[in-house]
Amino acid sequence: MTHEELTAYLSSRFPAAEISQGKQYVEMTVAASDLHSVAQQLKEAKEAAFDYMVCLSGVDYPDHIKVVYHLESTSLQHLLVLKVKTDGRENPVLDTLSDLWPTAEFHEREVYDLLGVKFNNHPDLRRLFLDDTWGFPLRKDYVDDVHIVSR
């Protein structure tokens, strides 16, 4: 699907979502409560068929954490950037997508490890790289007195 077709399809299917044409790809922002149902439809609908999760990243902003999913369809060759904001930074919680894309299980563990986002229904939510005594280093307010990583 071209970008225009994909935008048209998504806006008719998900009227509540915020859809925009980004610099490179179509971007869609959904509410945290809709994340799992939207993702499931994106994966299962024939017109969308996003079966391959390319990348899952977390970005820390002053008042929320954004989790960004790059989804691709291997049959239709289109790519979508799905974004979701957490409710605040104190106790950010999202639904897991690891039941839809198994690769998300480990990417979510990484986001939990480095940014402290918890994922509901995750089969094995443990820290991945660091041990439990560390804070969440990819947060902007993280201070490390020993290993100086920021100026």
Partner: protein
């Protein structure tokens, strides 16, 4: 005698307990500091839990306080065997700035990337042979890889962490000897590569240990995000060079090697096939390198426009994704590297279940893991 009889009769009821074995962090077949917590029943693998993070160096955090010209120097420390392909991720910065790099740069980058791919596959091939007990392969692989590293050294002064690509172009022009040396190497390696097949591919022990072992279906390869030769062996057409071509890849003709079996042997064969394809790509480009500048004119301080950028490049292990969030300053707000090794590693539990522990070594070998690529 009565006691012995009792023991023999009761042996039917003996059950083997499941037990846990740590494979690594210093196990030779993990090729680095990776620990696999393996749950075994006798020799049968029931579960594999990878424990990573031994060499987590916080590259993503470091990038937040570095400039766009400094960051490429960290990328070749991730997957050090595909250093040049990781450097090539600066295409992301160029696209964001809408800078058109000179044709010459595209040619040089592609040739270097394909040389790097051959070098990486040579090292993979020799290490795979060694993992499965064939020591001779190690000498063959390292001997031939030396030729490529010498070309790299002459071109940019480094053999392993090249730091050759920078935003806008490459660091130096190619050496006057470059074309001749590459052509000599290709001519020589075309004669040597069939020897690899004679030495290992046809070996009965090797085939017995790899054919039909550790099968990954196409659906699972997509679901677990297994890319690169490992994913293509299962039939997952995931070559970024074909689907979203960058640098000089739109100009060359090459086949995306694909398999259907998805077993250890197919993953092995696919990398051998990729070396042939890489040589063909280099041959198409090496005589046609256009004259011109080796770098576009760039500002001293690079500032990306506000926004989010995503670029994918094909490394020797699979798809490297670079996701940059910029707030318009000279440092990025956030950089995420989607490394191919990370996704590939976590499919191992799914594949290795039910196979013997020796098969786990064979499966790991054909997944070609590089640990700094996983830990970052």
């Amino acid at each position: 005698m009565a006691e012995l009889k009792e023991i023999i009769i009761s042996s039917d009821n003996i059950k083997t307990d499941e037990y846990l074995v740590n494979m690594g962090p210093q196990h030779p077949s993990t090729h680095g500091v990776l620990r696999l917590l393996v749950k075994l029943e006798g020799e049968i693998v029931h579960n594999v839990q990878p424990h990573v993070g031994y060499i987590h160096s916080g590259i993503e955090k470091m990038t937040e306080s570095l400039s766009y010209t400094q960051i490429p120097h960290l990328t070749d420390r991730m997957d050090y065997l595909s250093a040049h392909m990781n450097n090539e991720a600066v295409v992301c910065v160029e696209n964001a700035l809408e800078v058109e790099v000179p044709e010459r740069v595209k040619y040089i980058r592609t040739i270097m990337a394909e040389l790097q791919r051959i070098a990486s596959h040579q090292l993979w091939w020799c290490a795979t042979g060694m993992d499965l007990g064939a020591l001779t392969t190690f000498f063959y692989g390292l001997r031939d890889r030396e030729d490529i590293l010498d070309i790299f050294e002459e071109t940019c002064g480094a053999r392993l962490t090249l730091n050759y690509s920078l935003p806008g172009g490459v660091m130096f022009d190619i050496h006057p000897n470059f074309q001749n040396r590459v052509k000599t190497f290709i001519k020589k390696f075309k004669k040597i590569l069939p020897e690899y097949d004679e030495l290992l591919t046809g070996n009965v022990i090797f085939q017995e240990r790899s054919k039909g072992i550790g099968v990954l279906s196409k659906e699972d390869a997509i679901a677990f995000g297994v890319t690169g030769p490992s994913g293509r062996a299962s039939g997952f057409s995931c070559d970024v060079r074909k689907h979203q071509p960058y640098s000089a890849y739109p100009l060359v003709k090459f086949n995306e090697a694909l398999g259907t079996e998805g077993d250890t042997f197919r993953r092995y064969q696919l990398r051998i096939a990729e070396m042939w394809e890489s040589m063909s790509i280099i041959e198409q480009l090496i005589d046609n390198i256009p004259e011109g500048d080796y770098t576009a004119k760039m500002k001293g301080v690079i500032k990306l426009p506000e926004g989010e950028f995503f670029q994918r490049v094909e490394t020797a292990r699979g798809e490297l994704g670079v996701y940059i969030v910029s707030d318009g300053k000279k440092n990025p707000y956030r950089v995420k590297f989607r490394s191919p090794g990370f996704s590939n590693l976590f499919a191992i539990n799914h594949i290795a279940k039910g196979w013997k522990i020796a098969d786990l070594v064979a499966i790991m070998a054909t997944f070609d893991l590089v640990i700094p690529d996983i830990d970052r």
